[in-house]
């Protein structure tokens, strides 16, 4: 089995030919970089991911973490990989030079992290959680908190978690019960229970920094009363010396379908001993803080889903080239040698579908990461603002579309393998199980649909949607040959219908209320998702068409022709599926809404 998990040629195409990432080096923040440093960092990621992460992906799945005497036991390879990732400077990769970072653009960091997810999402999880928690402390924590917790997190001595969900309150954070009681020593006493906390216990790092959502006694009801606390596993003095265990305890491990290398924990706070928590920022602002970091986290989930999908595609492509089975329908002679299964049209359909999903999703997520860069560092203030608006609007799509179509790609990878794909001797069944988490966490895809249709579309008087259409228009007009123009035409037609649907739903929201107007939000998410991915394919096709004219080698021509064929697949086979969404949404179909619970 080849260990090439992501096609480097494709990644270079997307980053440097489509997104022109090299141009970022014109900005002050990235001035010291060049395509060379970007490529060198990508090379290191690719190499480390294969040597240290891919090597124990199956093992960590089979030999999952165990709960022994209140501690977690796991295979030592996980710590080795985590430590190497941190030592190479990846956790702080996008941070300022002064903080030990490398001031890398988010789009390059996203690409780098893609290799680790493709190689081993379970082990990569500890690093990504730490990076997300560190980001929150960097932005909202006090200087003292940054010194005490952020610095050791950036070097990988401490890990981080996000402790939000409670046994009775998952998606519905307004209902959390974990409480925080102020003391006169500056800290709060935390009491409560959390569940599904990824990385909530491990023996990889010296300490764990839990970011815990809790309600201060007497806080307002609902989400407006939630505060954010740092709750370390070990209490430390200002020099970082351990003072003893804090009162946060592992109540149990949860056994999952996939992502088994990442512990999923039930944690109890303040049960047997006092649990100290330190308020981050202002009281009652916790959820707001969490959500400011959510865009990047959700783009990360989408990209992870795309990358696990990508890995399955690469495996099944290689298998299809080598597995000999059957003959063409026209061949009646059983004496002729069997064909590689890739010769069968239906196998090529399954490979092309995977290609169009995973490369389309990768393009979408890298575009999102670029929006993060542009909203932070673009020299033109108007574009900074527009990029921020667009990122806000597209975040639910970037999270949900890859996390729906990544697992679909993995499903097809299993099908290409046939019976072998269903066995644990081959890697694709694990890809599928791992990837199945992504439509669920960081806000289920159902919630993403509500977020898109109920909130994001209408933000800033629809400025996000307008910006999206404006940007699409540029690429529609750039379509230069007949084939691309045809695709541009179908995309533009679909966009017009979607605009009409949006207007219908807008007035329904006003006249008939949110319950009715949002009932089919998932169709709307699918519609907008397909439009965005079709747009991504048009962008790639435009670049490939041009590049094809000057491509020097046969290999290069194969690459660009492959891009065009995958674009055609998406426009011929996928984009038309939104017709169904448009009908259901336009008619405000109430089949699901009106189904009485008693009729089930």
């Amino acid at each position: 089995m080849s260990e090439i998990l992501v096609n480097r040629r494709d990644l270079a195409f997307q980053l440097f030919e489509v997104l022109e990432t090299e141009k970022l080096t014109e900005r002050t923040r990235f001035a010291e970089h060049s395509r060379e440093t970007f490529e060198a960092v990508i090379e290191t990621s690719d190499k480390m991911a294969r040597d240290l992460f891919a090597s124990h992906n199956a093992l960590a799945d089979k030999d999952e973490p165990r709960f022994v005497d209140g501690k977690v036991q796991m295979i030592p390879d996980v710590k080795r990989a985590f430590d190497a990732y941190a030592a190479a400077g990846f956790i702080a990769g996008s941070y300022d030079y002064e903080l030990g970072g490398m001031q890398l653009p988010e789009s390059v960091m996203a690409a780098c992290n893609g290799f680790f997810t493709a190689a081993n999402p379970g082990t990569a999880g500890y690093a990504f959680l730490t990076k997300a928690a560190a980001n929150l402390i960097r932005v909202f924590g006090s200087e003292a908190q940054c010194r005490k917790y952020l610095e050791p997190m950036l070097t990988g001595h401490y890990a981080g978690t996000m402790a939000m969900t409670e046994p009775h309150a998952g998606s519905s954070l307004a209902d959390i019960r974990t409480s925080a009681t102020p003391t006169d020593q500056g800290h709060y006493l935390i009491k409560g229970a959390k569940i599904y906390i990824s990385g909530g216990e491990q023996e990889i790092t010296d300490n764990i920094v839990h970011l815990v959502l809790a309600k201060i006694k007497g806080a307002p009801a609902g989400v407006k009363g939630i505060s954010l606390f740092i709750v370390p596993k070990y209490l430390t003095d200002d020099e970082g010396n351990k003072l003893g265990r804090n009162g946060v305890a592992l109540a149990g491990l949860i056994h999952k379908m996939g992502y088994r290398g990442t512990t999923s924990t039930a944690l109890s706070f303040g049960d047997d001993a006092d649990c100290h928590g330190y308020l981050v920022g202002e009281p009652h602002q916790g959820l707001k803080y969490m959500f400011q970091m959510m865009n990047e986290a959700r783009v990360g989930v989408g990209f992870g889903a795309a990358m696990i999908g990508y890995r399955g595609y690469m495996h099944s492509l290689e298998y299809a080239r080598e597995r000999l089975q059957g003959r063409h329908p026209s061949s009646k002679d059983p004496e002729t040698p069997p064909l590689a299964i890739i010769e069968h049209a239906d196998v090529r359909r399954m490979l092309l579908a995977q290609k169009s999903y995973v490369e389309g999703a990768t393009a979408l997520c890298l575009y999102g990461a670029r929006l993060v860069d542009d909203s932070n560092t673009h020299p033109d203030e108007t574009i900074r603002r527009e990029s921020g608006l667009l990122l806000d609007l597209m975040t639910p799509v970037i999270k949900a579309w890859p996390s729906e179509y990544g697992p679909k790609a993995n499903d097809l990878a299993i099908q290409v393998y046939g019976g072998a794909g269903y066995t644990r001797e081959y890697p694709v069944e694990q890809c599928f199980r791992d990837n199945r988490l992504n439509p669920i966490h960081e806000g289920t895809n159902g919630i993403q649909a509500l977020d898109l249709l109920g909130r994001k579309v209408w933000q800033a008087d629809g400025a996000g949607i307008q910006a999206l259409i404006r940007r699409m228009q540029v690429d529609l007009e750039a379509a230069s040959d007949k084939r691309c123009q045809q695709w541009a035409y179908s995309l533009s037609e679909t966009v017009q219908k979607a605009v009409k649907v949006t207007q219908t739903l807008g007035s329904a929201l006003m006249k008939q209320g949110a319950d009715r107007a949002l009932a089919n939000a998932s169709c709307y998410l699918h519609l907008v998702g397909h439009i965005c991915v079709a747009w991504m394919w048009l962008r790639q096709a435009n670049v490939a068409t041009k590049a094809l004219q000057t491509a020097g080698s046969e290999e290069e021509r194969h690459f660009y022709n492959g891009k065009l064929q995958a674009a055609q697949y998406f426009f011929h086979w996928e984009l038309p599926t939104v017709a169904q969404d448009i009908v259901l949404l336009t008619n405000m179909d109430d089949t699901c809404l009106e189904m009485s619970t008693d009729w089930f």
């Binding site: 080849s2 260990e3 090439i4 480097r8 040629r9 010291e32 060049s34 060379e36 440093t37 490529e39 060198a40 960092v41 090379e43 290191t44 190499k47 480390m48 294969r50 190497a84 030592a87 190479a88 400077g89 990846f90 702080a92 990769g93 030990g100 970072g101 490398m102 890398l104 290689e318 080698s553 046969e554 290999e555 290069e556 690459f559």
Partner: protein, 249 residues
């Protein structure tokens, strides 16, 4: 002490190599390339010597197309101090590579030259030995341990049936085997630092070396695919098959 390390750009060891349809060579178009794994071990050994205070400067040299600078930069990010790129798009065979390296050795006068024992693309296992002969230096090949001791170096070599330790006078040539060390990864801050390290480009003509190949490749073929094994029912059956079918005992 100055250490010279030679590195080669080769097909990444994870890539499945495909032979060109006309059997003239392997297909390199769009194939992922990387530093030869044995060369990585050579760089790592030099960096460790520097960390121990034995080496004072590490010069890394590579022969190949412009893109070979990527591998030099990688070596610089791993801890080498400066690079020399001998740029050529021609095929470079072992003897020509050794002659080019000899010219660099004459100029740089390193105390120790470390090379990989072979490159995974051609598997010749010749360049280090040829360089030692051309430069009149002693050689310690297939090293699994290298200890510099004053003006001598003790090299433990992996040979059939065990280990041999040889003592060489410096300057000397050492070629690395797989178990010498475990190479590190380039860290992000070091990648940035590598960008500022000097990299000098020269041509084979500058060094007065003629690259005309001495060997002609007649044909390149993919190795035969391994046939599936069989399960035998008993020791007797195994012995019988080894004796009468495989005829090996």
């Amino acid at each position: 002490m100055k250490v010279l390390v030679a590195v080669k750009r080769v097909i990444d060891y994870n890539v499945k190599v495909r032979v060109k349809p006309d059997n003239t060579g392997v297909d390199l178009a769009n194939v992922k390339m990387a530093m030869n794994p044995f060369c990585e071990i050579a760089v790592e050994e030099a960096v460790r010597l520097k960390e121990k205070g034995v080496a004072t400067e590490i010069v890394v040299v590579s022969i190949g197309p412009k893109a070979a600078q990527e591998q030099i930069r990688t070596a610089l990010a791993l801890g080498a101090d400066r690079g020399i790129h001998i740029e050529t798009d021609e095929e470079v065979q072992s003897l020509q590579a050794a002659k080019l390296l000899k010219a660099v050795v004459d100029k740089e006068e390193p105390k120790l030259v470390i090379l990989g024992k072979q490159s995974i693309d051609t598997d010749n296992n010749q360049t280090g030995q040829m360089l030692a002969a051309l430069a009149g230096m002693p050689q310690g090949t297939f090293a699994s341990e290298v200890v510099v001791d004053g003006d001598k170096v003790n090299v433990t070599r992996e040979v059939d049936g065990g280990l041999v330790t040889v003592q060489l006078n410096l300057p000397a040539v050492v070629t690395t085997d797989l178990r010498l060390n475990e190479p590190r990864y380039a860290s992000l801050p070091n990648i940035m630092k590598a960008k500022k390290k000097p990299l000098d480009t020269q041509s084979p003509a500058d060094l007065g070396v003629d690259l005309t190949p001495r060997l002609t490749t007649l044909k390149v073929e993919a190795p035969q695919t391994r046939k599936a094994g069989i399960k035998v029912g008993s020791v007797e059956e195994l012995v019988d098959k080894l004796k009468n079918e495989a005829k090996v005992i």
